[in-house]
């Protein structure tokens, strides 16, 4: 054996670190903007590029994929090299990974405000960007596995298993959730429709939380926490048990996002059962982290990085206790669609992801710059203002969630809805939304102070771009020499590829059990003969609904509760969504559900409401959409869209594409003529006409009386 000299690449770690900080501040700033839009509609700034519907996905994408994403790569690139005693496989791949990821983020910043969106939550980016994500993810994978192959440490530490599971699962999730049929360069339709699309989306959405926001962070926790506390992890056995259980169970839990919807009951129950079980492996991780600090709690008082880690682990524990509780149908019935869910995710995002990232940044930047942190006092200030920010964020949101969830369900002794007007429940929680924005602002202030503190630290020190290290070269092992080496996990720890395949099998089981019957057994999605495909104009209107991000505030699925059927109408059936590519059920009701909006109001009502929502609903916090009235509807792709729908199995009659334009025009003129009766002069080729057509169609297929109220009545 010979001692080899090599260097660790700190420059790439630094680059990802800076990107984490910059995108973090930007993402949080956009978050603060959307938070303020919910109590001050003027903050939508009167133009289409900054309305809530378009900006909210920008916030979620920025904090998840830009802030957390860059933080993951920072943590992985730092810890992987040291745990494997090897430099990253390729400098070129590292750089392609870094710049490619930043380009993807920039493309999101450009396309989302333009309304270029697929509408799948946390996967809004259109297909060319999806392909770019896949390529860059593969680059990351090659770089990681290349490093693993040329390692100088035989066994893979538990953190690396989490990184491998992250890599393989995100790849599977991203690819399956991106099955889209492109119509043009920046427009596509999802291959799956309705219930099936919903199942795929929430299988993805839930596991993006699991394998982007959780497993890589657990891996980072298992490396950085022992380093910070200078003691080994509490129980290595527990880490193995909780790793395998976590990745096995997590993948099943997606349907808890679809409780009481028209997803088959057995799939919902599977989601509930596995969500409840999920508390065990999640708490296994939290307990393992917190107990690593046994006998070192005195250090927590002194060391700000450990303070951040302790709050992060506590927030992780709280969020993962709450998740299973929210999956119980009785609790979900009140919490779903309310701010309770927003509070839940932000305990995870601000507490777990945010604080763990800050802790690592405060520990790592001084080390790669060979200096001490510029100011411990400022870091301590960041810790306290950040903690206060989380409390000011979460508590009002819980309050708002309980309040609104219960108000929606309250009946008078006479059996009528006590708050029949949805807006009453929205206005009730405005003070809570103001407090939430204050919480967010405090948290952001902390992040800005950190930026200053770390910038000063970087200026004070000097980056050790290539840190020197030495280790013994790895010798080839003949397995039968040592009987203990035959144990399968020890073999797995040495065979990363087999490890990857095994973890992939483990994560595939749950998804397959849930999806295959839903996709193949017809009785799971019963069809309804009166449900017909959308007309060309309605289809264009639906695409405008997607473009404006209406789904961010309005659901399209009525749950079978009396409080909902009284308020909105007949509950939603699986067969009603069979032509919905993509599904638009939504996950939050900032405004009322829209599934039965069709025929409820006149065309004129919708026209006036879109022009100025407060004219129809005084006090409404919905932003006005005047551009829909002035902008001409783009019908250049209508024919292509009809053809694409035909390809996806929507039963338009043969050669329907040839008459699509004429049909569109005919229906648009009828709506314009109806509006004229109410003295509304609008050209029939404007966007508003298509949107009205879609809104008036929604949920009417199973109604006996499908006529729309004339606008002059």
């Amino acid at each position: 054996m010979q001692l080899e000299k090599f260097t660790y690449d700190n420059k790439i770690v630094r680059n990802f670190g800076i990107a984490t900080i910059v995108w973090g501040v930007i993402g949080m700033l956009v978050g603060l903007l959307v938070a303020m839009q919910l109590f001050k509609p003027e903050m939508n700034m009167g133009n289409q590029y900054t309305t809530f519907g378009r900006i909210r996905p920008l916030h979620t994408n920025a904090v998840i994929f830009a802030f957390v994403g860059n933080a993951i790569f920072m943590g992985v690139y730092y810890s992987l090299q040291r745990l494997l005693k090897a430099r990253m496989f390729s400098n070129l791949l590292s750089n392609i990974h870094f710049w490619g990821w930043q380009l993807i983020i920039v493309s999101a910043v450009i396309t989302l405000p333009l309304g270029i969106t697929s509408s799948h939550e946390y996967a809004e980016l259109e297909w060319p960007i999806d392909i770019a994500i896949t390529l860059i993810w593969v680059v990351f994978g090659i770089n990681m596995f290349g490093t693993i192959i040329k390692r100088r440490e035989r066994h893979l530490y538990v953190a690396i298993w989490f990184y491998i599971a992250t890599f393989v699962t995100i790849a599977v999730l991203h690819i399956v959730n991106s099955f889209q049929l492109p119509i043009s360069f920046l427009k596509s339709y999802y291959v799956f429709a309705g219930v099936q699309d919903a199942l795929v989306q929430w299988w993805y959405g839930h596991n993006a939380v699991a394998f982007f926001l959780t497993t890589p962070y657990l891996g980072m926790m298992y490396y950085f926490l022992p380093k910070m506390a200078n003691r080994p992890v509490y129980s290595y056995k527990l880490s193995i048990l909780h790793f395998w259980s976590l990745i096995f169970i997590y993948i099943w839990a997606g349907p808890h996002h679809l409780l009481y919807t028209s997803l088959p009951g057995w799939a919902q129950s599977l989601g509930v059962a596995f969500s409840v079980m999920l508390i065990a492996p999640s708490w296994g991780g939290m307990i393992n982290g917190l107990l690593t600090l046994r006998g070192a709690w005195d250090k927590v008082r002194e060391d700000v990085t450990l303070k951040f880690m302790v709050v992060a682990l506590t927030a992780y524990g709280m969020a993962t206790f709450e998740g299973p509780m929210l999956s119980l149908k009785q609790i979900n019935g009140i919490a779903h669609f309310t701010d309770w869910i927003v509070a839940h995710v932000h305990v995870g995002a601000l507490g777990w992801n945010g604080f763990l990232t800050f802790g690592i940044l405060y520990w790592l930047i001084p080390r790669i710059y060979r200096t001490a942190l510029y100011s411990k006092k400022l870091a301590s200030f960041h810790f306290w203002i950040g903690t206060l920010g989380i409390l000011f964020y979460a508590i009002p949101m819980y309050w708002a969630g309980f309040t609104q969830g219960l108000m929606w369900k309250e009946f008078t002794p006479e059996g009528l809805l006590k708050y029949a007007n949805f807006l009453t429940t929205t206005l009730q929680i405005i003070p809570m939304h103001i407090l939430r924005a204050i919480g967010g602002a405090l948290y952001l202030l902390g992040a800005i102070v950190m930026t200053y503190n770390l910038a000063k630290t970087m200026l004070k020190g000097k980056l050790v771009a290539n840190e020197e290290a030495e280790a013994m070269a790895l010798e080839k092992v003949v397995a039968h020499e040592d009987p203990a080496d035959k144990k399968w996990h020890r073999i797995l720890e040495r065979k990363p590829m087999k490890f990857m395949v095994l973890s992939m099998i483990v994560i595939l089981i749950g998804g397959m059990v849930e999806m295959m019957p839903t996709f193949t057994i017809e009785s799971n999605v019963p069809t309804i003969s009166s449900v017909k495909p959308y007309t060309p104009l309605e289809l264009e209107g639906r695409d405008l609904y997607i473009k404006e991000g209406c789904v961010n505030c309005h659901s399209q699925t009525i749950r079978p509760f009396r409080s909902e059927t009284e308020r909105y109408g007949e509950y939603s059936k699986a067969g009603e969504f069979v032509y919905d590519h993509p599904f638009l059920w939504g996950s939050k009701r900032t405004g009322p559900d829209l599934h039965r909006i069709g025929g409820k109001y006149s065309n004129a009502w919708h026209y006036n409401h879109m022009l100025d929502p407060t004219s129809m609903s005084p006090g409404s916090i919905m932003p006005p959409y005047p551009w829909l009235i002035t902008q001409k509807l783009d019908t250049t792709q209508t024919v292509a869209k009809i053809r694409a729908m035909q390809t996806l199995g929507v039963p338009y009659r043969e050669n329907f594409d040839a008459v699509a334009q004429a049909k569109l025009k005919e229906q648009a003129e009828a709506i314009a003529a109806d509006l004229k009766q109410n003295n509304i002069e609008v050209k029939s080729d404007r966007e508003i006409i298509a949107l009205i057509a879609y809104l008036q169609r929604m949920g009417t297929d199973i109604k006996a009386n499908k006529t729309t109220i004339p606008s002059n009545q």
Partner: protein, 60 residues
């Protein structure tokens, strides 16, 4: 609370089969853990803290 898991109108098969799959998986991991070599565990858990730490610049 258990009604939603008990009454599935024909869907019980999925639930029972899934739980069985998990139980088998969990027991396998459990058996492996019990049989694990103790010295190897100590060696593995010390991996992150064994390498030298450049923290001499940190103020105490």
């Amino acid at each position: 609370m258990f009604k939603q898991i008990k009454d599935l109108a024909g869907g019980e098969f999925y639930l029972i089969a899934s739980l069985l799959i998990f139980m088998v998986f969990f027991i396998m991991v459990g058996i492996y853990l019990i049989k694990m070599n103790k010295t190897h565990i100590v060696e593995m858990s010390n991996l992150p803290i064994n390498e030298p730490q450049p923290n001499e610049y940190e103020e105490v």
